[in-house]
């Protein structure tokens, strides 16, 4: 059975690119364009990994992650933050989220799926 991945990104192009790359790598990919939807999908589908943008329209991806961490159902799902924000002060917030990873944008399409897979235990 294929691994389930949830991709949360408000930018449609990036969402599509990441979805393509993960599907090519054999993932079953679920999509969400904002944090609330992402949380809902995560609770429903219980993916093996969540690929999350940080700057989302309704809340920060890190805030959404904290909500997921408080939910027993979703607290152990690894989260990989994919963000164009590379400023150092943003990193601290991401590192504070347990069981999470970071990939900077722009992504390397040739290694992306592999990098994401590394975070799944």
């Amino acid at each position: 059975m294929a691994m389930k991945a949830l991709v949360v990104d408000d930018n449609g192009n990036n969402l599509l690119l990441e979805k393509d790359l993960l599907e090519v790598a054999g993932f079953e990919v679920f999509e969400a364009e904002n944090a609330s939807d992402g949380i809902a999908v995560a609770r429903k589908e219980k993916p093996d990994i969540i690929v999350m943008d940080v700057r989302l329209p309704d809340m920060l991806g890190t805030a959404a992650a904290m909500i997921l961490r408080q939910d027993k159902e979703t607290q152990d799902i690894p989260i990989v933050f994919v963000t164009a924000s590379v400023m150092a002060d943003g990193r601290a917030v991401i590192d504070a989220v347990p069981n999470s990873g970071f990939i900077g944008k722009p992504i390397n399409t040739r290694t992306f799926a592999k990098e994401v897979s590394q975070f799944i235990r």
């Binding site: 990036n14 690119l17 393509d20 790359l21 963000t83 164009a84 590379v86 400023m87 944008k105």
Partner: protein
């Protein structure tokens, strides 16, 4: 001196006169004495003559008595005359000095002898009891005649002597008168002398007294002069000190007002006059509250004048803040003041001194300062806001630019990799062009962001121990492809003993990659590039050189300005960002190293030299 001479002369004269007077006196006295002696002598002579006569009479009487009685006792006077008569006469003769009188005596002597003989004969007769003879002898009268003759002679003698006596008396009287006259004259003279001396002594005394008085006066004058001088000096000193005080008071930058113990104004300095509107002359003696009218700035109620408190308790008083002084003409000044007691030597409070100043300007300045401070605070806030906005802008720009680039580059790469099916050559080439441009744009964005971070002081170094030898080799391999393509020769000269350094790995790699790729870019095909590294002092020195286009001396400064690129026939404008060199310099300096570029000139190659300390000064 003249007076003394006169005095001595007068004294001498007076002495002579007195001496003369005394001599005359003595002489007159001598004359008188002589006259008196002569007189008494004559008197003795007369009395002696009288005695002689009376003796003779006594003898005659005695002889008669005997004759009558026969009593021998009656013969005693006769016997005395008979025995003493010759010596008596002799004595009388000696006493008598007048020759006429002596003649009489010469006559008397035989008469007396005759008488004595007659008497002796009678006595003899009686003794013989011849009474008849006696009677006849007596009856003859011979004895009586003899006696009468003798009496006559003696009387003549006495008369001569009496005349002599009268003459002597007259002489004595004359001498007496003369003596009196002399005494009177001498007395007058002495009186006059005494008066004269008295006068002279008086005059001299007066003179001396005057002189003494003069001297005394002079001395007093000298003393007075001295005292005057001292006084004058004291006055000058006093004046100087008063002037000093006045100048000090006038020069003092504060208004000064003094009062006596009753709180009446005694002094105003010019500033106090100016502020209160009262002159010293007008204010003197008036109660201080009349001159120094103060109110509270906010309540506009009269404020307590600190003088009262100071006078009552001898304490130093400060004025409450926000006090307004109302001048005589109604003008108001914001003032600050203090009041201190004036004490005499015994420490008693004898007045108060009030020092105050116009702080209107100061207050305005304080307000201005406060305002400026506020503005500065706002400005600082704004600056902080601006800085925050700038870094927010940078973060946002970076994010916003990367987001589309993510899909541009991502999709191009996916297409290039023909993940979803093959492309024809042209399609493949075009997609590759898109990808190259996308990557260039990403590099630009990254470098701009880095520059901005360094400039904002937001670039932090993540220090770790870097094995420089292998790191330099690794990076040289990254450019090996490009070197090969341009058929360049790369020379590495990395010292064996190159130490590890503490530095930010990513940044160091970025610097070296930048410099190596620049060297490749600006060196024509078949040229040489190289990299050397060695330990220098407490750090390492890395040199990246090439035999390329070099840098014209006039462009030496521009290469660090950003976006400057050397135009070269060997490289495309699109190949560089123009930010590589300035960013590398900034990153080296951030580590505490030095960065320099050398070039002999255009087409003469270039070498970039930089140092990194073994331990960087900056921590994460």
């Amino acid at each position: 001196m003249k007076n003394t001479h006169k005095f001595v002369a007068s004294l001498g004269g007076a002495f002579l006169l007195v001496t003369l007077g005394v001599l005359v006196l003595f002489w007159t006295f001598g004359q008188m004495k002589e006259a008196a002696e002569d007189r008494s002598h004559t008197k003795i002579v007369i009395s002696s003559a009288d005695d002689l006569l009376s003796e003779l009479r006594d003898a005659e009487t005695g002889q008669r008595g005997y004759s009558l009685t026969g009593d021998e006792a009656y013969l005693e006077p006769y016997l005395a005359v008979r025995d003493g008569f010759s010596s008596h006469l002799k004595e009388l003769r000696q006493l008598t000095l007048i020759s006429a009188a002596q003649k009489h005596l010469d006559t008397i002597a035989p008469l007396i002898d005759a008488k004595l003989v007659e008497m002796a004969r009678v006595i003899e007769l009686r003794r013989n009891q011849d009474m008849t003879g006696v009677l006849s002898a007596v009856g003859s009268g011979q004895g009586k005649r003899l006696m009468d003759s003798i009496r006559t002679e003696i009387i003549s003698f006495v008369r001569i002597e009496e005349a002599e006596l009268a003459q002597h008396e007259a002489e004595f009287q004359a001498n007496m008168r003369r003596l009196f006259t002399v005494i009177v004259i001498a007395s007058l003279l002495i009186l006059m002398l005494a008066l004269l001396f008295g006068y002279l002594i008086y005059r001299e005394t007066q003179h001396r007294l005057k002189k003494l008085a003069l001297l005394q006066t002079q001395h007093l004058l000298e003393i007075q002069e001295g005292t005057n001088k001292q006084l004058q000096q004291a006055n000058v000193t006093l004046q100087v000190s008063e002037e000093k005080l006045a100048v000090t008071l006038n020069s003092i930058g504060d208004a000064v007002m003094a009062t006596d113990a009753e709180g009446h104004v005694t002094l105003l300095n010019p500033l106090a006059e100016q502020l209160t509107g009262w002159t010293q002359a007008e204010a003197a003696g008036r109660p201080v509250e009349e001159i120094f009218r103060i109110i509270n700035q906010e309540t506009r109620q009269p404020s307590t004048i600190p003088v009262k408190e100071t006078l009552a308790h001898g304490t130093i008083q400060g004025l409450a803040n926000h006090t307004l002084l109302i001048a005589r003409d109604g003008r108001e000044y914001a003032i600050a003041d203090s009041c201190a007691p004036i004490r005499n030597r015994d420490g008693e409070v004898v007045g108060a001194v009030l020092v105050f100043r116009d702080v209107t300007e100061q207050m305005e300045m304080e307000i201005g300062l406060e305002k400026a401070h506020e503005e500065l605070k706002e400005l600082t806030c704004e600056l902080k806001r601006a800085a925050r906005a700038k870094s927010e802008f940078l973060a946002n720009m970076s994010h916003e630019l990367r987001t589309p680039l993510n899909s541009i580059n991502g999709f191009s790469e996916v297409l290039c990799d023909e993940t979803f099916g093959p492309l024809n050559e042209k399609q493949k080439k075009y997609v590759n062009n898109v990808l190259t441009s996308g990557k260039h744009l990403l590099l630009l964005i990254n470098q701009i962001l880095d520059m901005a971070k360094v400039e904002a002081g937001k670039m932090n170094l993540a220090l770790s121990s870097l094995p420089m030898k292998s790191l330099l080799n690794d990076i040289s391999l990254l450019v090996a492809d490009m070197v090969g393509k341009k058929e360049l020769q790369m020379v590495l000269d990395i010292a064996e003993d190159l130490p590890n350094i503490e530095a930010d790995e990513l940044k160091v790699k970025q610097i070296i990659y930048n410099l190596l790729s620049n060297a490749v870019k600006f060196t024509p095909e078949g040229g040489k590039i190289g990299m050397g590294a060695k330990k220098v002092g407490s750090g390492i020195e890395v040199v990246v050189w090439d035999t390329g286009v070099g840098i014209a001396s006039e462009n030496m400064e521009k290469i660090f300005e950003g976006f400057f690129r050397v135009d070269t026939p060997y490289s495309r404008v699109t190949e560089g960002t123009g930010l590589g060199l300035p960013l590398s310099k900034k990153l080296v300096e951030l580590h505490g190293g030095k960065f320099s570029v050398e070039s002999e000139g255009l087409n003469k190659g270039a070498s970039v030299r930089f140092t990194l300390p073994v331990v960087s000064s900056r921590e994460v």
